[in-house]
Amino acid sequence: MADELLIRNGVVYDPINGVKGEKKDICIRDGKVVDSVTNPKVIDAEGRVVMPGGVDIHSHIAGGKVNAGRIMRPEDERKGVEPKTKVCRAQSGYSVPNTFATGYRYARMGYTFVMEAAMPPLAARHTHEEMVDIPILDNAAMPLIDNNWMTMEYVKSGDTDLLAAYIAWMMKATKGYAVKVVNPGGTEAWGWGKNCNLNDTVPYFDVTPAEIIKGLAEANEKFEMPHSIHVHGNMLGHPGNYEMTKDTYDVVKGIKPYRDRPTMHATHTQFHSYGGTTWGNFESKADAIADYINENDHMSIDLGSVILGDTTTMTADGPMEYSLYQITGRKWTNHDVELETGTGITPFLYSGKVSVHTIQWAIGQELALLVKDPWKVALTTDHPNAGPFIGYPIIISHLMSKKRRDESAEAMHKAIFDRAALPSIDREYDLNEIAIITRGMTAKTLGLHEHGKGHLGVGADADVAIYDMSPEERDAGKIQKAFLNTKYTIKGGQIVVKDGEVVATPPGRTIFVTPECDDKLTDEMLVTLKDKFAKYYSVTFNNYPVQDAYLPNPYEIKAPWRSS
């Protein structure tokens, strides 16, 4: 007998299908949304908010960097400990939770897909090993391809087709999803303790970060890639960086995407929207960035919104983490990866008593509120950089309630009234807009809506979140509570959370993209690549690619070469 489920009478928000708070039944059979069911188990969702499973576009949940953060922070791991239960494994950690806690906590918030935002190709096996250990969630990971010597050499020589062949090989070798860019050129320069601005020349490689971004965007569009290039630009976190951020966006402006999606996704934009020239006169320039996004259609962004409190910052942007550690003097881990990328990790405390942190806190929300079209914005905290993902409900409650924002601002450093725009913004998100920035936009921007994610149309994955709140709820505290623990989370047709408790822990799938590249091009590229392995890598060419054993539940998306 078919496995059927009927979610009855919920108030459904399914923005991809244009459903904005309609009372509607959701029928599920064998893990998919269907038209009708015959003999289902029934969930009564009368008066409750129903959304597709959440889709996180950018979060650091698995891999060497995250684990190095855990090893460095036993004091974080001792927070949030929960003993094993009949269903759940033991949990540890707050800003860098163990893999099990990561799966449970996301599922409890109604999320069913999370994108690991940065996978060092050489350590891709590690990322996959951890992703397999994250229960419930479907996931994917973006390999870092911007500071790679191969990339920079092809950008320099202008061989976009060969660069595309390299991207294709890398996606397959790492079982990755999209091209990730982190401080292009700057991370390579960090190999010598240096850094790069957008138009600086990368030491020894004679290319600029701007050229790297442009080259990768062009090469990415050679294929029918579901996602654009995913960019963490240069000079993250530096006062006055907003001009460079806009210049970065301009770099890809003329490049035509393969379909109706942006050419570049700019991630954790909060960290890139800074005015002033020093930390002393630091101010929000979220308005300037929002204006740019409002006026242009080739860009999407995610917030990187700040959650106050202690967290663990981690990024492939090694020089940025070094500057942060120089400010705090706290512990610092760095891990440069040969020929490819790097990693920096340092703990950080965002305090509402500190002017800079207060302004940072405001910027993330300003971006959400000043960008007019929510289809261009995704909710993230760049977990755990601006704060742990379990803070999402806090941000949702602030975006939905001007009153809540005013109350929070009142308790914070006065700088928020002088050097940020947030207190003067009246806009409040509605639930439809929340559904957009947490599932509709993210699924669409990643191209996952065509693979069953982020919506509840017939044929979609039966990933559903039922929140224990009425669509009329205006109390920010109650909204926050409802979004932290669902009434039900359903993953692939199976109830995984009930009344805020995890009740089942099925394994998730790993989604990866296979760009299809001409053999001749590939062979030509491989001559250069094999030479790199022979001379410079510390592992062999044959031991490099991720073996199938690392993806017990694979889901492949093919990206054909574009004929035109």
Partner: protein, 261 residues
């Protein structure tokens, strides 16, 4: 005043292994207001299982208490494998009659603990307030931080009549420690506040200090090579050499002070 006497039964430590009994559930504030039957039923971790306090200890109760402050717990029997005595305690008094195992007085916020014997490692770990008296020796990491934390003891008073082991007051940020005897290496490691007084000898004390002070009344067996002499100062009528550091942390951070003879 109420006195609760908990004598560890001999059977608990008579197996081939001495599996530690962890008594963080047995503090004056947690036991206040419990009847003798309730008290005996309190669950105590012993290895991977929880046992009723009454099954592990002979329990006797005398007197009454109006608040946690008026509760005194006396631990008796072989306490060498009894861990976490007074862990997180907020008020009242604990007397441990014998040598105690690790984490005695860890996370303590108030009240008083007297150990009539030696204390194993991590006594007074992350202590926030109250008073801890160890009549014998304290082993290593007295009043230190938990792994990875940047603060150890932040408040309260600790007195050790005997000697203490390595890393006394590691990452200490406040409060006072007085050791009458000698200490092993690295006392006051990464200390940022508070005061450690060592009655006896010490070696390599104060490394990576960024605040606070250490006074060594006995012999200095070996001095850190990264402190700057800064004249002399008189403490209680005795002339001490003063040092500033640790300069290995850089000039800006080197705000610790050592006094040695």
């Amino acid at each position: 005043m109420q006195t609760i006497t908990l004598k560890l039964k001999d059977a608990a430590m008579s197996g081939i292994a001495q599996v530690p009994v962890e008594v963080d559930a047995l503090t004056p504030d947690k036991l206040f207001g419990k009847s003798e039957a309730e008290l005996k039923a309190v669950k105590v971790w012993w290895g991977n299982k929880q046992e009723a306090a009454g099954d592990l200890f002979d329990v006797s109760v005398a007197g009454d208490a109006g608040s946690g402050d008026e509760v005194k717990i006396v631990f008796e029997g072989d306490l060498t494998r009894v861990k976490r005595i007074g862990d997180g305690m907020k008020s009242g008094e604990i007397e441990a009659r014998g040598d105690v195992d690790m984490h005695c007085g860890a996370m303590m916020e108030g009240g008083k603990i007297v150990v009539k014997g030696n204390a194993n490692c991590w006594a007074g770990r992350e202590m926030r307030g109250g008073e801890l008296v160890i009549e014998g020796d304290a082993e290593d990491n007295l009043c230190a931080m938990y792994r990875g934390e940047d603060k150890g003891m932040t408040g309260g008073k600790v007195m050790v009549n005997g000697n203490a082991g390595e890393c006394v007051g590691q990452y200490m940020a406040g409060g006072e420690i007085l050791i009458k005897g000698n200490v092993d290496r690295l006392a006051g490691l990464s200390m940022s506040g508070g005061k450690i007084t060592i009655g006896g000898d010490a070696e390599l004390f104060g490394p990576d200090m960024i605040g606070g002070e250490i006074v060594v009344k006995g012999k200095v067996l070996e001095m850190m090579p990264s402190f700057r002499p800064d004249g002399t100062e008189s403490i209680e009528g005795v002339e001490y050499k003063k040092y500033l550091g640790d300069l290995a942390m850089g000039e800006k951070k080197a705000k610790g002070t050592l006094y040695a003879r």
